[in-house]
Amino acid sequence: MFRYLKKYWLYALLAPLFMIGEVLMDLVQPQLMSTIIDEGVLGLSNQNVGDLGLVIVTGLKMIGFVAIGGLCGVLCGVFTNICSQNFGNDMRKAAFRRVMALSFEQTDQFSTGSLVTRVTNDVTQIQNMVAQCIRGFVRNVMLFGGGIVCMLTLDLSFGVVVACAFPFLLICVVFFISRVNPLFSLLQKKLDRVNSVMQENVSGSRVVKAYVRENYEKERFGKANQDLVDTQLRILTIFSYMTPIMNIVLNLSVVAVIYTGSIRVQEGGVTPGNVMAAITYLSQILNSVMMFAMIFQTVSRGLASYKRLSEVLECEPVIADGETERVPAGGGMVEFKDVSFSYPGSRGESVLSHINLTIRPGETLAILGATGSGKSSLVNLIPRFYDATEGQVLVDGVDVKNYKLGKLRERVAVALQKSELFSVTIRENIRWGRDGASDQELREAASDAQAAEFIESKPEGYDTMVAEKGMSLSGGQKQRLSISRALLKKAEILIFDDSTSALDLKTEAKLYEALRTKYPDVTKIIIAQRIASVKGADRIAVLDNGRIAACDTHEKLMESCSIYQDIYRSQLKADSEPGVSGNETPADPAAVVTQ
């Protein structure tokens, strides 16, 4: 943390200095007031004859001091903000930069949501902590310490009051905080529950209505709501006791100061002005104790955030650049040599084992297999989203680990099943594929991806904004946009990671036709679930439990590969077993259609 603060040490130093100035002025003020009362008004040292001149002179002095104090306070605030916000900014940038450099196994571990909170929320918490420490902490130490010193210089007897009140207040603060803190996490849970019932009802409304369970849902919500309200009330009740008790302690102390003051005035030890000053100091001291409680909370939250953030900052990307500067001329050949892979942290459960596969430049290779058979894992190894556990993955004869990451990924374009779109225009989304692509190229890519038609039918065409996470688009449209993006990249290797699953087969067929005729030199690797999608590929690799069961053309596989035949049968069941439907009777009069 101090690494980041170091840059702003000057501000971090100036802020408390000005703060000291401000507090000193605050502390001087009751003294001056006491002078005004005792000397100016009462004229204690002047046979009880007041001195209005003194009142005015001291008064102006006071205003001067206060103005200086105020200026110090403003400057302290400015410097604190410069320091803490720039510090927060640096941390935020460092954190985001690091997140953008992490390898997938690491982002998987953190989970998306938690990474987002760390970069946004946690940074703010740390920033608050720094600001609080620079300003609040120093201020309160000064007020507390200075207040006690000033009070004791007025008269030692006042110290007794402080000594009695202070521990009591401290115990109160600690007690309440320790009681309330655990309730907050409980409150969060109850709140989540209410939100989740609500969410389920909003997104699952069809099911609720279809089964006529509106009343049941009301009951369920009512229970969650009651729970939340109860917890909230428990917290509020505790707080309700806190404030008056604190107030009473403070007020009792005031009474005590007046009482002891009166005794000391009788003895001639102090003046009435001193008593008034003492009351001011007292409230300053006790206030600072309560402020400490708040600072303590900010700091403990900030430290927890800092711990979470440093987990990110200290996370070194596992997958780093290779050494080779020289890039082979290319063509787009991909080779898997005895490749095995298991996800990091999965205790060695291998996803791929001993894969040997060569994909020739310009070839269309389809990969077919059940969920979990390792299809995505296999293609993830090509742009080094993950590293193979054993064996080698080669692109154009060079081990992918030897490439500079940027250079390697330039050669590979991937369209994912879950198309990730960004909330910019459609044009900009596609242009992600290649900066500087012309509109002509962009339109061509879209038309090859069978997206041009629906884009152009929109009133704003390519300038249509893609709403949050592509909400305004259908699944198939999103996939076609992400395919357009991949095509625009004009990479040597094109990977469709199940990215046509939401397209109807007619559109899919047109897309593949466009790929075949317009991108003949590109190596195409296509993951799919439907046999119909992959039939036309040059070769089909059938993955089964992380092994390549077979790799051949559709016709050959139909002859020799039993797994392939199984899949074929389950998808086109009726073709091979004409009897199952049991409904060969023609023209059932049961259903009549008129148009």
Partner: protein, 606 residues
């Protein structure tokens, strides 16, 4: 110069993470402020007793805080005048007053906590009741995040502000009145002078907060942008990496971040200067009081104690003015929130009219000349006619957007048709009691909806009266009994939110079992297009076949086997029926179905 309750205004419950109003909040302007406020007050009407109690306590509190400085000044006077024997009596009164003050603060806090929670609870319930009864159309056409935020943010905001501001407002006004009264009573001349401070306070605070508002609003926008960027880029990280966009993304982020910092520093610096500036003004007021007070005291017009009391009063006077100014903004924001909440509450509820029962239904469905559009002018179904006989399986086939899902929406009365009629056993569904209609029709949707509850409750969702045996039988028929019993807690396994601890296929099986348990006469199946592995796929297929036995089934079909098994196939194209018949007939016809079949199922060569 003690200030009775300066350190923590009781109205402000200190919640972690919710820091006091540093800098003004972003104030939204409500459109129909008065009307909304009126409706909001209706919520308080039911808590009349509590509101009255709260107001009563506030009066006591204000009286205490107005009178306490006077007592303090008396005590100081006793010391100054050397009347020490009279001091204890004053101190005892002070103690009593502080005791009353403490007790009232406590009661006030407890009351306002109760009040706010009661109101927020009722409001949440009302809103939820409304949402449950809204037509599907509303939920389909409004972003869910927006609806959710009305429930979470707006309701919370309203209750917090309203219950807080109620006592603050009253106590603020009363304090001002009381203080002015006391000041004038003690010394009218000094009271007049104190006004200088007050005017200065108002000027300074309104100037500063106007300045601040500008920057705080700008900061809010930038912060929103920043968070949005982070969220989007982290979620879409794979794409960022795949296209080598890391550096570009980081650069953009850093630009926003730098700008945010700049604006943030200015905004916070303005916010931070509020305190010192007020401090200076307060002290100017103090000096004025001391100087003139001293002058008056020397001339014997007032006592020393009065000066000390005035100092406290002057402070007490400025605070509620600031508070009320701030409250105004808060109240505006809350009312804007309330407007959003009420706008949902004002939505028309689902039309559930109809009285006829559906006992002994056979399940004959007829569509007669049905026209329908989701949005006026964009017709989805044109003159749609279809008869489905009891116990038959009808497959709806067609491209996306051809109107398949619409047919289902209409049959369940999720939407009402524009013209024509839909009949079940010859009865118009508009005349059938909505609950009865839906209870005798079960749907299995593409996107499986499960609730965060036990598997048992999820299955029995369709039929709460079902026995455990019936439930298990349904599970067995749907091929998921074994899968469930293999889970550590079996049927009592809690599903996480939207059932994410089960695979897609398993979730589909559960939703089939749920439909089974409903034992409906009519079944609507929306086949999932999403891909599951072959074995689960087989399980699902078999379960569906089981489920369809002896029921009138309408299937939005994607799988060839389902279509081939259907008694009757309806080919839809752009809201019109283009072909009907069974598989063989339609193949023989070599029409639209044949074309569809050849491209979609037999291969991609056309």
């Amino acid at each position: 110069m003690a200030d009775t309750n300066k350190q923590a205004p009781p109205q402000n419950v200190p919640m972690p993470g919710r820091r006091g109003p540093r800098g003004p909040m972003i104030v939204e302007k409500p459109k129909e402020g008065k009307k909304t406020l009126g409706r909001l007050l209706q919520y308080f009407e039911k808590e009349k007793g509590m509101v009255a109690g709260l107001l009563g306590i506030v009066v006591v509190l204000v009286a205490c805080s107005v009178y306490a400085p006077r007592l303090q000044s008396e005590a100081i006077d006793r010391i100054t005048d050397g009347q020490f024997s009279e001091l204890p009596a004053v101190l005892i009164v002070m103690l009593i007053l502080y005791g009353i003050n403490g007790a009232s603060t406590l009661i006030q806090s407890l009351l306002s906590a109760q009040l706010s929670q009661r109101i927020v609870k009722r409001m949440r319930e009302d809103l939820f009741d409304k949402i449950v009864n809204l037509p599907i159309k509303y939920l389909d056409t409004h972003p869910h995040g927006d609806i959710m935020s009305r429930m979470t943010n707006d309701v919370e905001n309203i209750s917090g502000t309203v219950s807080q501001s109620l006592s603050s407002l009253v106590s603020g006004i009363l304090t001002i009145i009381g203080t002015v009264f006391m000041m004038v009573w003690l010394c009218p001349q000094l009271a007049l002078l104190s006004c200088v401070t007050v005017i200065l306070t108002i000027f300074a605070s309104s100037y500063l907060s106007r300045k601040m508002k500008l920057f705080f609003r700008k900061r809010q926008v930038l912060l929103g942008n920043l968070n949005g960027t982070v969220e989007e880029m982290v979620t879409g990280y794979k794409t960022v990496v795949a296209y080598n966009h890391q550096n570009k993304v980081v650069e953009e982020f850093e630009q926003t971040s730098d700008e945010l910092t700049k604006v943030g520093i200015i905004a916070e610096s303005f916010g931070g200067s509020m305190g010192p500036v007020m401090n200076v003004i307060n002290n100017i007021g103090f000096v004025i009081i001391a100087a003139f007070g001293g002058y008056f005291a020397i001339h014997g017009i007032i006592s020393i104690g009065v000066i000390s009391a005035f100092i406290v009063y002057a402070k007490q006077f400025g605070r509620p003015i600031n508070e009320i100014a701030q409250l105004y903004g808060q109240i505006q924001t809350a009312i804007a929130g309330a407007e959003r909440v009420f706008s949902i509450m004002d939505e028309q509820e689902e039309d559930k009219s109809g009285e006829r029962g559906m006992d002994g239904t056979k399940g004959v469905i007829s569509f007669r000349n049905v026209n329908f559009s989701y949005v006026p002018g964009k017709q989805v179904l044109y003159d749609f006619n279809l008869d489905i006989y009891a116990g038959h399986k009808v497959a709806l086939v067609g491209a996306t957007g051809s109107g398949k899902t619409t047919v289902v929406n209409l049959l369940m009365r999720f939407y009402d048709i524009d013209s024509g009629e839909i009949l079940i056993d010859g009865v118009n569904i508009k005349d059938i009691e909505c609950a009865k209609l839906r209870a005798s029709t079960a749907i299995v949707l593409q996107d499986t909806v499960l609730f965060s509850d036990t598997i048992r409750n999820n299955l029995k969702y369709s039929n709460p009266q079902a026995s455990d045996e019936e439930m298990e039988r349904a599970a067995k028929m749907s091929n998921c009994h074994r899968m469930i019993t293999r889970l550590a807690k079996g049927y009592d396994t809690e599903l996480t939110e939207s059932g994410q601890n089960l695979s897609q296929g398993q979730r589909q099986l559960l939703s089939i079992a749920r439909a089974f348990l409903a034992d409906p006469k009519i079944l609507i199946l929306d086949e999932a297009t999403s891909s599951v592995d072959t074995r689960t796929e087989q399980h699902i297929q078999d379960a569906m076949v089981n489920l369809m036995k002896d029921r009138t089934s309408v299937i939005i079909a994607h799988r060839l086997s389902t279509i081939r098994d259907a008694d009757f196939i309806v080919v839809l194209d752009q809201g019109r029926i283009v072909e009907t018949g069974n598989h063989e007939e339609l193949i023989a016809k070599q029409g639209r179905y044949y074309e569809l079949y050849m491209t979609q199922f037999a291969g991609n060569a056309i």
